[in-house]
Subunit: 175 residues, 2 copies
Amino acid sequence: MSLRIAALGLLKSGPGSGYDLIKRSHRHLANIWPATQSQLYGELARLASAGLIEVSTTGPRGRKEYRLTDQGRAELSRWLTTPHKEKPSRSPARLQLFLLGELSSGQAREHLLQVTQRHEAECVRLAALRDTDDVDSPLYHRAALDLEIRMATTTTEWARELLTEIEARGAVGGP
Amino acid sequence: MSLRIAALGLLKSGPGSGYDLIKRSHRHLANIWPATQSQLYGELARLASAGLIEVSTTGPRGRKEYRLTDQGRAELSRWLTTPHKEKPSRSPARLQLFLLGELSSGQAREHLLQVTQRHEAECVRLAALRDTDDVDSPLYHRAALDLEIRMATTTTEWARELLTEIEARGAVGGP
DNA sequence: TGGTGCATGTAACCTGTTACATGATTCG
DNA sequence: CGAATCATGTAACAGGTTACATGCACCA
């Protein structure tokens, strides 16, 4: 249901073809609402026939440039001002952590070590993204990125602390 | 693909019927890998015909109590020791935050206020869960819960700081 | 004996993923 | 010309959600 909104959001920064929007989405929405090409084309067709967007220009190779209609803008702010219940996300990584007790404590330590390393790398990647960001990029885009960075940082800290905790236990109580 | 694993994980704490496992999953896995009744029954049938679990007892009302087989245990630890790439999760709430610039600054402030409040409440809820937790509940179950609490805390802090930041701006530059 | 809870399952639908199909245009 | 890029779309499949269908067993 919210790919609809993501597509409208992508069109807020200016009109564009499906092809353009996919690129925009890879640049900006990849971590928030990833979408594939097939999905986006379908959604654009549906949005157009619902009157929320319209074709502003047609170009070479059958290019259709879409833009928001007033109806679309209205729908976007309507959606933004209504609360949405968060459905808990499924994460293989979190499932692994939850079931970590099934492994030997050596394997578990190894796993946690990799978790810290992966999240540290993610912090670095996101921080680099933030630092190469346009100075004039919207406040909330930076804020959203900032939240992601904090999440990665928190996870790193958590994993590191858990690791020292189980190492302390291991040293006292055995393997 | 990982509902399979979640189901195996649920059976690690002892044999049970589909009905039992749904309750277990509501109790323990609701935030990590939520599953519906229909889904779980289907998965159990598939796991049984793949030999990863087996019927240990049949009871009244056609009750089938399943238990892990050695093959199932092996599959579980195989999965736990292989890395899984995280596919970015879709979150309506994060999409809202990302697009918050579309709203008036008053509406945006209001929204952020609600975000802080909702996450504070979530912190409280999770903390209560942790405190009523069994003393003998597995280390990694508590650790997973702890991670969730930290996430909620981080989000709260982030939203509060963002709120004061835009309020400062609003006071200087106008709404 | 009648309601609550136990217990299993099917069907329709929606969303998202992967792979494929097709062709025009631009530029070196 | 030929390769890369632009550009749109379809089809098959996998996973998840909601709603419905069915019936036994227990106990107050």
